[in-house]
């Protein structure tokens, strides 16, 4: 029983980290319905940003969240203005090819700038706490992961309030649902999309700053997370911020529990099987509105 409870706890903590990664995609794909295959590369840039600021100025990645987030917001807006705006009205395949191209551009630029070496952050607040654990009913909870989970919760809550409870968020939703109608009430769709891309890039870069404490940093680090993030957003439901959070937790727990009882090869198989099942019976996702 303890084995199962520990697996669930591990899964929940990992789920929060996955949620962090998926949060940016929630806006770009889940809400604005634009495809971004370079999502993982924004994460990678966030991780390199945290690493660079730590090496150059000794900044802790948790402090780097602010500068990295701001720079990546700018990059997100730039990517929309220079690239995505031009392909937005075209075939979805155009968006796929454009963002796959962006993926290679960003990834290979990182190879050129940083080489393909694996970089590690070793002297940060969270890495210094890496052995610290909280024990509840015989279940170990790693303190750094708990902090990561807490940050994920805060980010999701902030995003939820922004999207669902502010005029700006409603304008974003209106733009996503019917651009022409939004224009009639004075919303400028291009601006909304640019802000959405900026926010999406900034949020995933913030996730990168946190993940840099737990994972090796290298130019190809984003891809496995991108795949999971897409599954999570689709599973949670398009347009549902809290749905994404719950889906990330489900994915974390499914991965964790199946691996305890079955060969690890089934770890992702079950995640994607549940994605297919949801797709068959509830195409809008678990908590999707459209």
């Amino acid at each position: 029983m303890t084995l199962l409870l520990q697996a669930i706890a591990n899964g929940l903590l990992m789920g929060f980290l996955y949620a962090l990664v998926a949060v940016g995609l929630t806006i770009i794909w889940g809400l604005m319905e634009m495809i971004n295959f370079a999502h993982g590369e924004f994460l990678m840039l966030g991780m390199f940003g945290a690493w660079g600021l730590s090496v150059a100025f000794g900044l802790d990645p948790l402090v780097s969240i602010l500068p990295v987030g701001l720079v990546m917001y700018g990059l997100g807006v730039l990517v929309y203005r220079l690239l995505m705006r031009r392909v937005q009205r075209g075939d979805p395949f155009t968006q796929i090819f454009a963002t796959v191209g962006l993926l290679f551009l960003l990834q290979n630029s990182a190879v050129a700038a940083f080489t393909s070496d694996y970089q590690y952050l070793t002297n940060t607040l969270l890495t210094r706490l890496s052995g610290a654990r909280l024990q509840i009913l015989g279940i170990n909870l790693g303190i750094p992961l708990l902090i990561g989970a807490l940050l994920a919760l805060v980010l999701f809550l902030a995003l939820y309030l922004l999207i669902d409870r502010t005029e700006f968020g409603l304008a974003l939703q209106a733009t996503a649902e019917d651009r022409e109608a939004a224009m009639l009430v004075g919303i400028r769709p291009q601006k909304m999309f640019a802000v959405a891309w900026g926010l999406g890039a900034a949020l995933v870069a913030v996730a990168g700053c946190i993940l840099a404490n737990f994972f090796a940093i290298y130019p190809q680090v984003g891809f496995p997370f991108t795949v999971l993030a897409y599954a999570i957003v689709a599973l949670g439901g398009f347009g549902s911020i809290l749905g994404t959070l719950l889906a990330a937790l489900v994915v974390g727990v499914v991965q964790s529990v199946t691996t305890v009882y079955l060969p690890p090869a089934f770890k992702d198989a079950f995640v994607f099987a549940s994605y297919i099942l949801i797709g068959l019976f509830r195409p809008q996702g678990l908590f999707g509105r459209f």
Binding site: L3, Q6, A7, N10, G11, M14, L17, Y18, Q107, N108, V111, T115, S116, D117, Y118, Q119, Y120, T122, N123, T127, S130, G131, R133, N140, G142, P144, L145, F214, F215, A216, Y218, P219, Q220, V221, F223, P224, F225, L228, G252, Q255, S256, V257, T258, T259, V260, P263, P264, A265, K267, D268
Partner: protein, 440 residues
């Protein structure tokens, strides 16, 4: 319908026609020897590819420039003396860590660039994909850091390997375990667990370890294969904790090893012995990072050379200085050493062949008999068996000490020279945290 059938037959026959019509570059008046260097410079295995590229550039530099005091093949003098001073030129292609692209690129290197030799691809999986293509064209080829035994066991006519394969190297680890008991080691190590990733390299290691473990007195209590690129190994650590093996045999790349270390630390788990094979243990950046955390202390693993002893060789130091010109100051790791050793053998063989004709190369390669004095690595020499595997390539076992460096612990004669006390059992995570870190 008939027209469609004819079109299909023509399309299918085109590659065969290309091979049939292919003529290797003429041997006479060779101005430069073209080496097709097919590497994973981007994509998942880019960190390996860049080390191999730096190694290739180092050898190109050694061959083309005069290093009078460098006691390695073609160190003194410029170019290939056997070919009238012809230069060596690398024709580098990046396959993006993709086997399908590697296949296309290697055909281009042979048919368009007319290279005389194929070096690559650096990973066993992709090398096994391009081997039949190169074999079809009859061009000599090598992959020296590739360790999968199957690459040479297939008996290809045009493939050579100077480096040891996984059978040799994993066998070293289990020979060490067997003999350790007689050399004052623990006698109560009875169980072993295998935690490996899912590609050809990891699975070859897993199979060999699984075969050798019982003979070394171990019962395999858990055998877990994980996905390359795993983002969490917490549940795997839980299962390891429950199985509680005395020894963990871990074969993972650096990112997954970092994930494993994080999850094992959070769970507060560490086996008595942790043995590895290549992967993170061969990666310089992972090794350097361990110096800041003590995270790698006690990890033991197979290496093709006694890296702590080989650094005393004057030729190693000089080659390392050249290597650092290309590697942004990074020292040669054992992967780079394997690659440089192999490329120097290739250059020496081309020089002895006095020709870039494949048949002449093959003859010279079969006659290879290099001595340890000509090498920057600890092999007993270079001499090929019938499958073109260097039968003098050796494996040693090293362990990471509290100084963050690797120290030779097997074979025993080298271990005696290294004079290092084996760390046993593996230090706990608390002990690692509390002791000073060599690079902090």
């Amino acid at each position: 319908m008939r027209r469609l059938l004819i079109t299909l037959v023509v399309v299918a026959a085109l590659p065969l026609l290309a091979i049939a019509l292919y003529q290797p570059a003429p041997a006479a008046n060779v101005q430069e020897v073209l080496i097709g260097e097919l590497l994973p410079l981007t994509g998942n295995f880019a960190s390996l590819g860049q080390q191999y590229l730096w190694a290739g550039q180092t050898v190109e530099d050694i061959v083309n420039n005069d290093y009078p005091d460098l006691a390695v093949p073609l160190g003194p003098g410029k170019g290939f003396p056997g070919l009238g001073g012809a230069k060596m030129t690398l024709v580098v292609r990046d396959d993006q860590s993709r086997g399908d692209l590697a296949r296309t690129l290697v055909e281009q290197l042979i048919t368009v660039n007319k290279v005389h030799f194929i070096n690559g691809e650096g990973t066993s999986g992709t090398t096994s994909i391009i081997q039949p293509v190169v074999e079809g064209y009859g061009i000599p080829m090598a992959c020296h850091p590739c360790a999968s035994p199957t690459l040479t066991e297939k008996g290809f006519k045009w493939f050579w390997r100077t480096g040891p394969n996984d059978k040799t190297m994993v066998a070293s680890v289990f020979s060490f375990f067997r003999e350790w008991r007689e050399h004052g080691g623990p006698t109560d190590l009875k169980t072993i667990a295998l935690l490996t990733c899912d590609n050809l390299f990891c699975q070859d290691n897993r199979k060999i370890a699984g075969e050798l473990a019982p003979a070394a007195g171990f019962q395999v209590v858990l055998d877990l294969t994980t996905k390359t690129g795993a983002t969490t190994l917490a549940s795997e650590v839980q299962r390891l904790q429950a199985a509680n093996p005395d020894v963990l045999f871990l074969v993972q790349y650096p990112p997954e090893t970092a994930v494993f270390q994080g999850d094992a630390k959070r769970a507060g788990w560490m086996p008595k012995v942790l043995a590895t094979s290549n992967g993170a243990y061969s990666d310089q950046t992972w090794l350097e990072a361990q110096k800041k955390t003590n995270g790698g202390v006690g990890f033991l693993g197979r290496d093709p050379t006694a890296i702590d002893l080989v650094q005393d060789r004057p030729s190693w130091k000089k080659v390392n200085d050249i290597y650092k010109k290309y590697s942004r100051g990074q020292n040669m790791g054992e992967l780079a050493m394997r690659e440089i050793t192999g490329l120097l053998w290739m250059a020496d063989t081309i020089n002895r062949a006095k020709s870039v004709e494949p048949a002449a190369f093959a003859k010279a390669a079969d006659e290879t008999n290099m001595t340890p004095a000509q090498l920057i690595i600890d092999y007993k020499g270079v001499k090929f068996d019938k499958n073109h595997q260097n039968e003098l390539a050796t494996g040693v076992v090293t362990q990471i000490g509290w100084d963050g460096e690797k120290h030779t612990i097997w074979p025993w004669d080298l271990a005696k020279r290294a004079n290092f006390k084996i760390i046993y059992p593996m230090p706990s995570w608390q002990e690692r945290d509390s002791k000073p870190k060599p690079a902090s």
